[in-house]
C-alpha cells in the first residue's frame, strides 16, 4: 500500500494505491484520470517537460518549447540534451515542431510561443 498525490489537475487528490504484483487498486481519486495516473506511476511513469531552445534572433534569444505528449520519466534528461542542441535560425509558429520524433520516443518537441512570427 502506497500513498500517491495525483499531479494531473490542481485538485491534487491524495490516493492510496494497492499493488499485489498482479492487479492495482486505487482509492481516493475524484476522477478516472487519477486511476490512470496511479496505474502509470506503478508501471511506466511519464511526465511532460517544458524548456526553451536557443534561437539566432536577438529579440528572442530563446523560444519556449514542450513535448507534444508525455515521455517516460527516466528519459527526461536525455530529451533535455536533445532540446539543448537546437539553435533555431528560421522563425516558427506556436505548435510547429522543433524536433520530430525525439529519440524515437514517438513524441515531438513543439514551440509554445508565437514570438518569432509576431516580431518578424
Amino acid at each position: 500500500m502506497k500513498e500517491l498525490v495525483c499531479i494531473v489537475c490542481p485538485n491534487g487528490c491524495v490516493m492510496t494505491v494497492n499493488s499485489d504484483g498482479q492487479s492495482i487498486t486505487v482509492t481516493g481519486n475524484k476522477c478516472p484520470k487519477g486511476e490512470q495516473f496511479a496505474y502509470a506511476e506503478e508501471t511506466n511513469p511519464t511526465r511532460t517537460i517544458c524548456s526553451t531552445v536557443k534561437t539566432a534572433f536577438p529579440y528572442a534569444p530563446v523560444l519556449p518549447v514542450r513535448v507534444s505528449a508525455e515521455i517516460p520519466k527516466n528519459r527526461i534528461f536525455d530529451v533535455m540534451c536533445e532540446i539543448n542542441k537546437v539553435v533555431l535560425r528560421q522563425p516558427i509558429a506556436c505548435g510547429d515542431a522543433v524536433i520530430t520524433n525525439v529519440l524515437s520516443l514517438g513524441v515531438d518537441i513543439i514551440a509554445t510561443s508565437n514570438i518569432l512570427k509576431q516580431s518578424s
Binding site: 498525490v5 495525483c6 499531479i7 489537475c9 490542481p10 491534487g12 491524495v14 511526465r47 511532460t48 517537460i49 517544458c50 524548456s51 526553451t52 536557443k54 534569444p61 530563446v62 519556449p64 514542450r66 520519466k73 527526461i76 534528461f77 533535455m80 506556436c94 509554445t112 510561443s113 508565437n114 514570438i115 509576431q118
Partner: protein
C-alpha cells in the same frame, strides 16, 4: 485627448480577458501595457498546467496567453504597448489618465477603468536576512526571466527560500538546465505552493523540502558564497543550536506575492488588508465608482483560469457601468476564513448572482463553508479538505434572500457533519 468607454491597465491574462469582455459587451476599449508584448507574466511561465479548468487542456503559459491574444486581435481592440501610466484622476467628465510612451506624454479619458496591474514579488529587502550585500540574491520571477526569456543560467548551485509555486517551478527548471538546487527552505510548517507542485517539481527530481527552516544570514563579497540556515520554532523564532552553513552561489526567493495597487491607492481606492487588493463589490467595482479590479491585482490567485474569470467579470461590468447610487452591505467573514472576495454586496445591482473566491486560514479536513443571514443558516458547502494555498470558488445567488441594508451576512468555515 483620446476619449473611450473603458480603459484597461495591464495586458496580462486579467487585462486581456477584461478587454475582450468589455468589447463584447459593446464598449469602446483601450488597453495599456508597459511592456512591448501582451501576455504579462505568462510569457515567462513556460511550464504547463495552465487552462485545465477553462480549456480542459494542459497548456504552457505562453500558449494560454496566445489564445487570449488571438481573441483580442480578432475583436480589434486597440492596445498601447510600451506605455506606462503615471497618473489617474477622477474628473467630472470621467477618469483621466496620464501616460508616457515613445510619443511623449499622452492624456486619456474614459468612463470606466479596469485595473489589471497584477502582483509583485516580495524581495530580499522585505524579509529580514542579515549579512553582506553580494550579488546572487534574487526572486524566483527574476530567475525565471533570466532562464526562460533571456536564455541565461543565473546559478550553478542555489538555495531556494520559500515554497511558493514559482519557487517550486524554478527548482525543477534549474535542475532540468543542469543547475543544482541544494534545497527548498520554508519557515512555515506547511508548504505555500500547490501539493502537486511539491510532487512534480521537487520529489520527482529528489530536491529536498525543509519545513520550519529558514535562511537567516548570507555570506560573500562580490558573489554569494554561502547562506546560514536554521530551524524555527512555532513562533518563527530561530532555534540557536540548529544553525548550519550551506554553500551556494545563489539564493532564490519565493516568499510571497503582493497585489500591485499603487495607482489604485493614489486614486483613493480602499484596500483590504487581508488580500492587499481593493475592496470590491460583486461586479468587482472598487470603492471608487467606475474603477474595477481583477486578476492578481485583486488578490493573488493560484490558477490563471480564475484570473481570466475575474477579468471577464470586471470587463463586462466596466462596459455596463452607469453612474448610480450603490447600497452596499459588508460580507462579514468569521472563523477560519482568511479572506473572501467580494468583500461587499451592492444591493442595487439587478443581478446578485455572485462568484465568491475564498481561502481558509489553515489546513482543514472535512469542513463546511456556512453562510448565515441575521443568524440563520442559508447555505452550506462541504469540503473534504481546505488548504490555504488552494483558493476555492463557489457561486451563490444572493437575490432570493431579500437582503436589506440592515442584513448581517456572515461567512464562516466550521467542522460540521456532511449533509
Amino acid at each position: 485627448m483620446t476619449n473611450t468607454d473603458v480603459i484597461v491597465i495591464g495586458g496580462g491574462p486579467a487585462g486581456l480577458a477584461a478587454a475582450i469582455a468589455a468589447k463584447k459587451a459593446g464598449a469602446e476599449v483601450l488597453l495599456i501595457e508597459r511592456e512591448a508584448r501582451l501576455g504579462g507574466i505568462l510569457k515567462q511561465c513556460i511550464h504547463d498546467g495552465f487552462g485545465l479548468v477553462r480549456f480542459g487542456e494542459k497548456l504552457s503559459g505562453p500558449e494560454y496567453a496566445e489564445r487570449f491574444i488571438q481573441k483580442f486581435d480578432e475583436a480589434n481592440i486597440e492596445a498601447l504597448t510600451l506605455t506606462f501610466v503615471t497618473k489617474i484622476e477622477k474628473t467630472p467628465e470621467g477618469i483621466r489618465l496620464t501616460a508616457v510612451n515613445r510619443n511623449g506624454v499622452v492624456q486619456l479619458l474614459s468612463k470606466a477603468l479596469v485595473l489589471a496591474t497584477g502582483c509583485r514579488e516580495r524581495t530580499a529587502k522585505q524579509i529580514f536576512i542579515h549579512g553582506t550585500r553580494p550579488s546572487g540574491i534574487f526572486t524566483a520571477g527574476t530567475a525565471q526571466h533570466f532562464i526562460n526569456l533571456l536564455g541565461q543560467m543565473p546559478t550553478k548551485k542555489c538555495v531556494i527560500l520559500g515554497s511558493g509555486d514559482i519557487g517550486l517551478i524554478m527548482a525543477r527548471r534549474i535542475t532540468l538546465e543542469g543547475g543544482k538546487v541544494v534545497g527548498v527552505y520554508e519557515a512555515k510548517s506547511t508548504p505555500s505552493g500547490l501539493t502537486r507542485n511539491i510532487y512534480q517539481c521537487l520529489y520527482d527530481y529528489d530536491i529536498p523540502l525543509y519545513l520550519s527552516k529558514t535562511v537567516t544570514r548570507v555570506f560573500g563579497d562580490d558573489r554569494l558564497a554561502a547562506v546560514e540556515v536554521c530551524s524555527v520554532d512555532e513562533n518563527m523564532r530561530p532555534i540557536e543550536e540548529t544553525f548550519e552553513i550551506v554553500e551556494c552561489d545563489s539564493l532564490i526567493l519565493s516568499v510571497g506575492l503582493i497585489p500591485e495597487n499603487e495607482l489604485a491607492e493614489n486614486l483613493g481606492v480602499e484596500l483590504d488588508p487581508r488580500t492587499k487588493g481593493p475592496v470590491c463589490d460583486e461586479h468587482l467595482m472598487t470603492s471608487v465608482d467606475g474603477v474595477f479590479s481583477c486578476g492578481n491585482a485583486l488578490h493573488v490567485n493560484d490558477l490563471v483560469d480564475y484570473v481570466s474569470e475575474s477579468g471577464e467579470c470586471a470587463g463586462k461590468a466596466a462596459a455596463n457601468f452607469l453612474r448610480r447610487e450603490r447600497t452596499e452591505i459588508e460580507l462579514i467573514i468569521g472563523k477560519n476564513v482568511q479572506y473572501l472576495i467580494p468583500q461587499r454586496l451592492d444591493l442595487n445591482a439587478e443581478d446578485l448572482k455572485t462568484v465568491l473566491y475564498f481561502r481558509s486560514r489553515e489546513v482543514l479536513q472535512k469542513n463546511s463553508l456556512i453562510l448565515t443571514v441575521d443568524g440563520c443558516d442559508v447555505y452550506r458547502k462541504w469540503f473534504s479538505v481546505l488548504r490555504p494555498p488552494e483558493m476555492e470558488r463557489v457561486e451563490f445567488d444572493f437575490g432570493p434572500l431579500g437582503l436589506t441594508p440592515q442584513s448581517q451576512v456572515y461567512f464562516r468555515i466550521e467542522e460540521v457533519e456532511r449533509t
